[in-house]
C-alpha cells in the first residue's frame, strides 16, 4: 500500500482519470444538452454512442478506415440520425409529462439495441487501431485515450463556444430557458430542438468512435455507460452543459484514484457513491439549479 503514495503512481492515476473523464464529459454533456433544452431524458443516448462505435468498427473492418478519419463520416451521420429521431419521435413527446418521454426514448433504446444484436450479434468487438502509448520519462500516455480526450475537449469546447458565442447558440439557450418566450421572439423552436438533438447525437457518436479504440463493446454495452451518464449529469447539475463537463472529469479522476487506493470493484461503485454524496451536500448538482426554477 505504501508504494501507492509514490508520486509517479499518483501522477499516472491522475493521467488515467483525466483521460477517462474527458470521454465521460463528452458523452454526458450531450445528454445534458438535450435535457436542458427540452426536458427530455434521452435513455437511448448510450445507443447513439454505440451507433458511433459500430460505425467506426464497420468502416475499419470493411474499408480499413482509421477511426480518426471515420469521425468525419460517423459524426455527421449520427448528427443526421439525431435530427431525424427528434423530428420523427422525440418532438411528439416534448412538453409531455416526464414519463412519456422516458418511455419513448427507452423504447428507442430497445429498438436500437436489438437492431445492433441482429446485425452484429452480441459478440464483443474492438478496433485495434492506434494502440500503444507515448512515453514521457516515467509517465506513459496511452495513445488512443489521449487522442480520445483531445477529440472530446475539441468537441465539448466547440459546442460550448457555439452555445455561448453564436446567434444560433443563443437561440438554443433561449429555448432552454423559456421555450414560450423564445417562440414569441420568432425563434423556430422545433428546428432548434432538432439541431440540439442532432448535436447531442453527434457528440455521442464522436464519443463512440473514440471508445471503439479503447474498450471492447457489444450492442448491450450501453447500459453501463448510460447509468454513469445519469450520475454525471446529476452530479454536475441537470440541464447545465458545463456542469456535465465538470461532472464527467470529476468522475473519471475519482474513479481512477478509488481504483488505485482500493480496487476496480470499488471504482465501479464510485459514480453512485459520488451521486449520493453530491445530492446530500448540494442537491442541485455542482453547477446548477436547473430544476429549481
Amino acid at each position: 500500500m505504501e508504494e501507492i503514495l509514490d508520486p509517479i503512481i499518483l501522477g499516472q492515476l491522475l493521467i488515467g482519470g483525466l483521460l477517462a473523464g474527458a470521454l465521460y464529459a463528452l458523452l454526458a454533456s450531450g445528454l445534458n444538452l438535450v435535457f436542458g433544452v427540452m426536458r427530455v431524458i434521452n435513455i437511448a443516448h448510450a445507443e447513439f454512442m454505440l451507433v458511433g462505435a459500430f460505425g467506426a468498427y464497420v468502416l475499419y473492418t470493411a474499408f480499413g478506415l482509421h477511426p480518426l478519419l471515420a469521425l468525419f463520416i460517423v459524426v455527421p451521420a449520427v448528427f443526421g440520425f439525431g435530427w431525424f429521431v427528434q423530428h420523427a419521435l422525440v418532438e411528439r413527446v416534448v412538453g409531455q409529462p416526464m414519463l412519456t418521454s422516458l418511455l419513448a426514448t427507452y423504447g428507442l433504446s430497445i429498438v436500437l439495441l436489438n437492431i445492433g444484436v441482429l446485425i452484429f450479434t452480441s459478440d464483443f468487438k474492438g478496433v485495434p487501431a492506434l494502440t500503444g502509448s507515448l512515453v514521457f520519462g516515467e509517465f506513459v500516455l496511452p495513445k488512443p485515450r489521449a487522442v480520445a480526450a483531445l477529440v472530446s475537449i475539441v468537441f465539448a469546447v466547440g459546442v460550448y463556444l457555439f452555445l455561448e458565442r453564436t446567434r444560433l447558440g443563443k437561440a438554443v439557450r433561449a429555448v432552454s430557458e423559456h421555450p414560450h418566450v423564445a417562440t414569441i421572439c420568432g425563434i423556430d423552436t422545433k428546428r432548434i430542438r432538432m439541431l440540439t438533438f442532432g448535436l447531442a447525437g453527434a457528440m455521442a457518436g464522436a464519443a463512440g468512435t473514440m471508445l471503439s479504440m479503447i474498450y471492447s463493446f457489444a450492442p448491450e454495452s450501453g447500459a453501463d455507460f448510460i447509468q454513469k451518464c445519469f450520475a454525471i449529469i446529476v452530479i454536475g447539475g441537470m440541464g447545465n452543459f458545463a456542469g456535465a463537463l465538470y461532472g464527467g472529469i470529476l468522475l473519471g479522476v475519482v474513479e481512477a484514484f478509488v481504483g488505485g487506493f482500493l480496487s476496480t470493484q470499488w471504482a465501479e461503485a464510485t459514480a453512485y457513491l459520488l451521486l449520493v454524496l453530491v445530492l446530500l451536500i448540494r442537491p442541485t448538482g455542482l453547477k446548477g439549479a436547473a430544476l429549481a426554477r
Binding site: 508504494e3 501507492i4 509514490d6 503512481i9 499516472q12 492515476l13 488515467g16 477517462a20 431524458i41 435513455i43 416526464m98 414519463l99 422516458l102 418511455l103 427507452y106 430497445i110 444484436v117 450479434t121 452480441s122 459478440d123 464483443f124 468487438k125 474492438g126 485495434p128 494502440t131 500503444g132 502509448s133 512515453v135 506513459v140 496511452p142 495513445k143 488512443p144 485515450r145 479503447i214 474498450y215 471492447s216 457489444a218 448491450e220 453501463d224 474513479e255 481512477a256 484514484f257 478509488v258 481504483g259 488505485g260 480496487s263 476496480t264 470493484q265 471504482a267 465501479e268
Partner: protein, 392 residues
C-alpha cells in the same frame, strides 16, 4: 425513475427470454438447455450451443436416440445465474424435457445445478469448471471440463523452470475466475513462487488502468488473469497502453478463442492461455467435427463449441447404456461411463467432477493459437519471453 426503468427492463427481458425456444414434437426426446446468447458470455455460449446443435443434427441423421428423434429446447439465460436458474426450473417443470445439458459458465451452472439437484435430474455440464460446483455433495452435475484450479498449472511450472518468482494475479469476481485464482495461489505456493499482487474485479469491468498502474510498481515476472473474453482483451490492450511488462502474460478463456486475435490484432502475439480442447488434438472425430463446423459457421471451432459437441456424445452414450431416458438409469450410466469422444476422455468421480481430461496451454504465435503444453500434444514450441511492447 430508476425503479421504473428497472421494472421495464425486467418486463422486456422476461419477454425476450421466451422467444428463442424451438417447438418440439411429442414423440421426440427433448433435450433442454440454457445458454448465454446475450450478455458477457454470449460469444462462448453461442459456440457451445452450435457445437451441441451439430451433435443433434448428427444423431438424428444416424437414426436418433433409442429410435426416437432428438429435439433441442433452449433459452437465452443472458449470462445471468438468476435467469439460468429460472429457465432450468421451466425446462424441468413446464417443458418437461427428457434430458438436460448444462449452461455455459461456472457462474450460471452453480445456479442451474441447484435446480437440477432439487428435481434429482442428471445434467451433463459442458462449460463449467469451477471445482466449488462439485463440492456441495450434489449427485446430478456431470462435468466435461478440466477443473479451473488446474488451468494455469503448466504455465506456472514453465515459469518456475525459467526461474520466475513474482506473480501478479487479477481475476473476475465470479465462480470460475475465482477457481482459477485459487488454483494459481496454491500452485505458486507449492512451487515456491510469490503472488505479489492479487486483486478481484467486477463482472462488468473493462477499465483496468488503475490496476495496471499498481501492478507495474510490483514489477512481476508473470501476469495471470482469471478472465473471460472481454476482460482479457481489454487488459492486454491496456497493458500495452501503459507499458506493463512481464516475461509471461497468461489469461483464462480469452486467448482460447479466435476473437482474441481478431480484436487485438498483433498485440495478441505471445499471450498465453488455456484451452479445454483444440481441433488439432488427436481424438476420434475431432478433425471431422472441426471441418464440418468450419464449413457450416465459417470459422474453426474453439473449445466451447467442442465442449457442446462432446456433451452431446456423453449424453448419447449414457442414454444408450441406460436403455431409456429414466433419470435414475441415466445418472447411473453417467457415473459409470469412461469413454473418449471428439472432445476427449469423460470420466467422473463420485461427485460428478471430471477427472479424466487433461489441461492444455496455448500461446498466440504469428496470429494463430497453438497448443504449447503438454509437449506431446503441442503444435508449436513455446516462445519466451514475452516481447516488450516498446520493441514491437
Amino acid at each position: 425513475m430508476k425503479s421504473t426503468i428497472r421494472f421495464l427492463m425486467l418486463l422486456l427481458w422476461s419477454g425476450l427470454a421466451g422467444t428463442v425456444a424451438l417447438a418440439a414434437q411429442a414423440a421426440d426426446i427433448v433435450v433442454g438447455t440454457s445458454v448465454a446468447l446475450s450478455g458477457k458470455y454470449a460469444r462462448t455460449g453461442q459456440e457451445q450451443l452450435q457445437g451441441f446443435q451439430m451433435w443433434v443434427e448428427e444423431v438424428n441423421a444416424r437414426g436418433g436416440l433409442l429410435g426416437r428423434k432428438v429435439a433441442l429446447k433452449y433459452y437465452d439465460d443472458e449470462s445471468k445465474p438468476e435467469t439460468g436458474a429460472k429457465l432450468y426450473e421451466k425446462l424441468i417443470t413446464d417443458d418437461k424435457v427428457d434430458l438436460l445439458i448444462g449452461p455455459y459458465s461456472s457462474d450460471v451452472t452453480m445456479a442451474a445445478s441447484t435446480v437440477a439437484e432439487k428435481h434429482n435430474f442428471p445434467m451433463v455440464s459442458s462449460g463449467a469448471s469451477a471445482s466449488e460446483i462439485w463440492e456441495r455433495g450434489y449427485k446430478n452435475t456431470f462435468g466435461l471440463y478440466t477443473l479451473a484450479e488446474l488451468y494455469m498449472d503448466q504455465i506456472l511450472e514453465y515459469g518456475k523452470s525459467k526461474g520466475l518468482k513474482k506473480i501478479a494475479l487479477v481475476y473476475e469476481n465470479t465462480s470460475f475466475p475465482r477457481g482459477v485464482a485459487s488454483g494459481v495461489r496454491s500452485k505458486a505456493k507449492a512451487l515456491g513462487m510469490q503472488v505479489v499482487y492479487d486483486e478481484e474485479y467486477g463482472k462488468a469491468s473493462t477499465d483496468f488502468t488503475s490496476t495496471i498502474v499498481k501492478i507495474k510498481a510490483k514489477k512481476p515476472d508473470m501476469i495471470i488473469g482469471g478472465s473471460y473474453l472481454p476482460d482479457s482483451t481489454a487488459f492486454v490492450r491496456q497493458a500495452k497502453e501503459n507499458r506493463l511488462y512481464a516475461k509471461i502474460f497468461a489469461f483464462a478463456v480469452g486467448p482460447g478463442l479466435p476473437d482474441f486475435g481478431k480484436n487485438l490484432g498483433l498485440d495478441a502475439e505471445g499471450v498465453m492461455g488455456n484451452t479445454q480442447w483444440e481441433p488439432t488434438l488427436k481424438l476420434p472425430g475431432a478433425k471431422e467435427f472441426s471441418d464440418k463446423y468450419k464449413a457450416k459457421y465459417g470459422h474453426e471451432p474453439g473449445y466451447h463449441a467442442g465442449g457442446g459437441y462432446g456433451a452431446g456424445y456423453v449424453l448419447e452414450e449414457a442414454v444408450k447404456k441406460a436403455g431409456s431416458t429414466d433419470r435414475n438409469k441415466v445418472r447411473e450410466a453417467l457415473f459409470a461411463l469412461d469413454s473418449v469422444n471428439a472432445f476427449g476422455r469423460f470420466k467422473v468421480d463420485k461427485t460428478g467432477k471430471q477427472i479424466g481430461k487433461p489441461a492444455y496451454a496455448v500461446q498466440w504465435l504469428n496470429g494463430e493459437r497453438h497448443i504449447v503444453f503438454p509437449v506431446d500434444a503441442a503444435t508449436a514450441k513455446v516462445v519466451y519471453p514475452f516481447k516488450d511492447w516498446a520493441k514491437r
